[in-house]
Symmetry: C2
Subunit: 184 residues, 2 copies
DNA sequence: TCCTTACTGTAGCAGTCGCTAAAGAATCCT
DNA sequence: AGGATTCTTTAGCGACTGCTACAGTAAGGA
């Protein structure tokens, strides 16, 4: 049944791969960089993960679970303004957190366009809920405001990759919040 | 003195190279893609432009002259709000203009970080002028507001690359404008 | 103990990367 | 015409890309 046991920890190898993809993106991360960072030879990587593409998919899924979903859970807060404020503040912190690469994988990796669309849809849904609840002006189109918020988040991520500090991103976040129209 | 004349138009070759770099970025554009698009062999490219790096630098300079500076000239408008509105609107149009690649080269190419810093500095300077002129609230830090505006522009560029339409970008632009505090 | 199974390291596949040596072709100058 | 100059094409450099055939190794089951 069982053969020779794997000589490396698949789970921590996935962490290492995620870090590499997050830092440099899919295209700029070579298989040889990955195997070197993990400390294995190519056949071991391919036995465990099938292909660079599948390895990325699994690393991205881990990113979603471990970083992205928690961040998006900020939207569950009561109060639309508080929810968006929490999302922006959490993003500012996450995008500049020491020990992880700067910026957001979802917002910077071209291959994750689908996740960006999910993200925008979730924000739009939260805004619509706010309009139903009466704590967001119904005069603004929720989809459009969600697109603006996504754009601000993408800009914050890009700024972080350019060396922007936590304080700079928090300033962006704080100023961006003032565009949420309160109900009259 | 003069030897065999160049068989291709250096100027239009530079246009072709700019289009390629703009569309896919520096790293994702190979020399063989460039020579194929221009219709020449590698030695001709190297005789005319020295290296991929120098070719990119020249193409980027052309981008700045031909697209970026005109866009930034929107800031010269009288009225700070009008100036920022014009910049955002011009960006929405430029990032989705048919016949040119989607998005902004300055905002999407990692190598052009310095230009992004120039851009932010120019926006900040315009905002400070607005505060001196009294048509922008002096209570907001111009550098921070400039960072927010740059973030919105970067987000618009990213959205354009994801397939965002002119109308979507205009909606972002219009909503973003509401964060400009008027003087009390 | 021996077989089966599944991993390991070595080595290298075909293809592409940025770039260039060498030789032929087209121009100007004398 | 002949030489000098500068481009062109052909061909290919060494290094790297994602990936894999092959042989050796370490485990469990009979």
């Amino acid at each position: 049944m069982a053969g020779r046991p794997r000589s490396f920890d698949r789970d921590s190898a996935l962490d290492t791969a995620l870090d590499a993809f997050w830092r440099a993106g899919y295209e700029q991360t070579s298989v040889s960089q990955l195997t070197q960072a993990i400390g294995i030879q190519p056949p071991s990587l391919y036995a465990a993960f099938s292909s660079k593409d599948k390895l990325f998919a699994e690393a991205a899924e881990r990113y979603l679970e471990r970083f992205h979903r928690g961040l998006m859970a900020s939207l569950d807060r009561a109060g639309t303004r508080e929810a968006i404020a929490a999302l922006l503040e959490a993003a500012a912190r996450a995008h500049t957190r020491p020990g992880t690469p700067p910026g957001c994988l979802v917002l910077s990796e071209p291959r994750l366009r689908g996740e960006r669309e999910n993200m925008r849809a979730q924000i739009a849904e939260r805004l619509r809920r706010g309009q139903r609840d009466g704590d967001l002006s119904p005069e603004v189109e929720a989809g459009e405001l969600a697109a603006l918020i996504e754009a601000v988040l993408a800009g914050m991520s890009a700024r972080a990759r350019d060396g922007g500090t936590l304080e700079e991103l928090q300033a962006i976040s704080r100023l961006a919040l003032s565009l949420l129209p309160v109900p009259h």
